[in-house]
């Protein structure tokens, strides 16, 4: 069994230093790794990133993170990433990483992702340049997620997790106004997850959403935005099979 701890949208600033650390220090007792699903800061400043870094340094379990839209606000995502990496976190954008725990190889593919909406109610790559770029950017994020998951499949991980900030499915947005769904996620992420295969998808971003959802391909989705889970993190127990995977690419890799 793999024990996955996850939280997103912790929105840390100088006034929140130390708030999560006591709970995070219990992680070695209950989890094999900690996933951070973006919006770790309020404005994406180096000062705020250092607050997060101190919160997650030397926790005793691997920390794997993606950034969120808030972490981009100050236009310094590379600095934020570097500060978190200095603290030992794996920060992913269009990449995957493998962490090991108790002999199990856990692959995590991560991207911030982006909006665009869900099938039948989504933005199209048409019209003004800014509109086309909006959709292309979302597509690039999804394509990178698919490629990372496929790579992890070829590496024979015992479990593969898709980690994003934006949501791959509308299920976990329930509670948010319908009108803003296109700003909260994109079906392109779910399509990537279903095409490459994964055992779990974890995201944040939708503070008023709900925790549980599933892709059309049957991959479970969890919205771990801190306001949703109401805790410092949630833990998911994933059974370990022999190279547990779904999806066409995973089949091909066997």
């Amino acid at each position: 069994m793999i024990r996955i701890a996850a939280v997103g949208d912790i929105h840390m600033g100088p006034d929140s230093q130390g708030l999560l650390r006591p709970a995070f220090e219990t992680l070695p007792e209950c989890a094999d790794l900690l996933l951070l699903a973006g919006d770790l800061t309020r404005h994406g400043t180096p000062e705020e990133a250092r607050v997060v870094a101190r919160e997650v340094r030397d926790l005793g379990v691997p920390v794997v993170a993606v950034l969120g839209n808030h972490d981009h606000h100050d236009d310094r995502p590379d600095e934020v990433t570097a500060i978190l990496r200095d603290a030992g976190a794996h920060v992913l954008e269009g990449q995957g990483t493998v962490v090991t725990s108790g002999g199990a190889r856990i692959g995590v593919a991560g991207t911030k992702g982006f909006g665009g909406g869900f099938v039948g109610r989504c933005a199209g790559e048409f019209g003004e340049p800014v509109m086309k770029e909006f959709v292309r950017y979302s597509r690039r994020c999804a394509d990178s997620l698919r490629a990372s998951l496929e790579q992890l499949g070829e590496e024979g991980c015992d479990a593969r997790i898709a980690l994003t900030h934006f949501s791959p499915v509308p299920d976990t947005l329930a509670g948010e106004p319908l009108e803003i769904y296109p700003f909260l996620g994109s079906y392109l992420l779910a399509e990537a997850i279903d095409t490459a295969g994964a055992d779990l998808a974890v995201h944040g971003h939708a503070h008023a959403g709900t925790e549980h959802g599933m892709t059309n391909g049957g991959v479970r989705v969890r919205n771990v935005a801190q306001p949703v889970i109401g805790r410092a993190f949630h833990v998911y127990h994933l059974p370990v099979h022999d190279h547990v995977t779904t999806g066409a690419a995973a089949q091909a890799a066997r």
């Binding site: 209950c30 801190q226 109401g230 410092a232 127990h237 059974p239």
Partner: protein, 95 residues
């Protein structure tokens, strides 16, 4: 349609329109010091209700202060809660 006096058609001065004032407030909450996009601000009759979860008590206080400043003259009810930071008491089995 007949209009009376100097009142512009369409329902009064924009600065008196609560809906637009709320929209401007939300812009200020998002782009200002707070970077706050998670607070719902809704008109309830002649009052305004704040709901949502915020990361810290100082954040909550600052949001309420900003709302009261931006919506001066409008009674504001806050149901904002501060996010819970305790460890979970159980795990979910994904069998």
């Amino acid at each position: 349609m007949t209009t009376h006096g100097s009142q512009p058609p369409g329902g009064g001065e924009p600065e008196q329109n609560l809906e637009y004032r709320i929209a401007h407030l939300q812009d200020r909450l998002a782009s200002g010091e707070l970077g706050e996009l998670g607070v719902r601000v809704e008109a309830r009759g002649r009052t305004v209700l704040l709901t949502g979860t915020v990361p810290s008590a100082p954040c909550r206080d600052e949001i309420v202060r900003t709302v009261q400043e931006e919506l001066a003259g409008v009674p504001v009810h806050s149901d904002l809660v501060v996010t819970e930071t305790s460890s979970p008491d159980h795990a979910e089995e994904l069998a």
